[in-house]
Symmetry: C2
Subunit: 233 residues, 2 copies
């Protein structure tokens, strides 16, 4: 089956290496940065659906059943997060699909440019983008009304694809000559597009400067994920 | 994205129309027909994983978000069934992946020939094959040790993709000229391959004659599903 034929290739953005790794947690007040709850939930739900689709594709194209097993469990977690966010939209009294609609095209395009050219790039694409965006939306949820914010943070905190992706990628990097270099470049090229998605979730007119420390922190976490794979971020 | 490019096309088998529709439930003793519990669970788990993959593909290629939403819930149900069967394999003290392995190639091939040439055929493929096989494995579970059999029947009884598939297909058939004829042919061509999978689950050396009434019943249920879509079985 051809999975990768018509995809547009993302431009690598090698300038996005983090130069400063913060050593302690940065406090940022998200009150003025978080979007309206419904927009937040709509975008977060759309993004989890895309992670689910990416992971399903990873299941379907996995080279062995052990990988399929681990990835299918991770796909299940993304789907649970998606449906839990959908349930929060219903609780707000709105039609979930209508509220996801404004984010559908951008999210679909984001998936296309982060899917990569083969199974390994697909896996790293999910690892990098879900790593950054789950962190980011959890932080942003601090700016939601407190009950909702707490529930959303619980939803997003469920351990998902990270473990199985790291395991599969580490073993592939050990086995396939040249893969580490290719994936390092690929991982680096994903950060720019992912941070654009994060930025699009901020309330328009909010103080962008104020959120910069959070972006620095997200990139530091990204660097740690790449390090864990032995890849240069 | 090209999803349907390299697929082998199933040969239509127009001779498989049911000529007799039974009017009452046929009693068949499955004691001599059901396979060993572990083989049963391995094959059933592999099949649910394939349904999940088919439904995920239907999500990813859905033309609208409403379809995505309904299909993603159905994909979640198939995944839950798969993982519940995996849990039963663990309970039997065996490694689930090892026990699914013997069925992996046949199940993958089954998915390829039942995926169809477009989204509508994919949907009908899942509707027809999961309709028949969920019924069949539930009946076959009567031949398992009684505790295990009861649990398996509960697992397989969860309402899954049937509702959403029927809804999406009905509305497409009403909207797209010529689709009904094409899908009627496609639905008919799926029955032979699906019954072969069912037959492969029977204990070798069992009395094949004894199970014929069940096959007749499965085909009658299939006919009812096709009727509900306004399609000739």
């Amino acid at each position: 089956m051809v999975w990768w034929s018509n995809r547009r290739r993302a431009r690598p953005e090698p300038g996005l290496r983090p130069s400063v790794v913060p050593t302690e947690l940065v406090r940022v007040d998200f009150t003025d940065l978080a979007p309206e709850p419904i927009a937040f939930l709509g975008q977060a739900a759309a993004i989890q659906l895309e992670f689910f689709e990416g992971l399903s594709r990873a299941v379907a194209t996995a080279p062995d059943l052990v990988s399929k097993e681990g990835l299918s469990a991770a796909a299940g977690v993304a789907l649970r997060k998606h449906h839990a966010l959908i349930a929060e939209l219903r609780r707000e009294g709105v039609e979930p699909v209508t509220m996801m609609q404004p984010f559908a095209a951008a999210t679909e395009r984001f998936r296309e440019i982060t899917s990569g050219d083969d199974w390994y790039e697909l896996l790293l694409g999910i690892h990098v983008t879900s790593g950054i965006l789950d962190d980011f939306f959890s932080r942003l949820a601090e700016g939601l009304p407190s009950d909702l914010g707490a529930r959303v943070r619980v939803i997003l905190a469920e351990a998902g694809a990270g473990g199985v992706l790291e395991q599969r990628l580490s073993s592939a990097i050990a086995d396939v000559p040249g893969l580490a270099d290719r994936l390092a470049l690929w991982g680096r090229s994903l950060v720019g597009d992912t941070l654009l998605v994060a930025r699009s979730a901020l309330r328009t007119g909010g103080d962008d400067q104020a959120v910069e420390p959070v972006f620095t922190e997200l990139i530091a976490e990204h660097t740690r994920r790449m390090d864990a794979l032995g890849l240069t971020a």
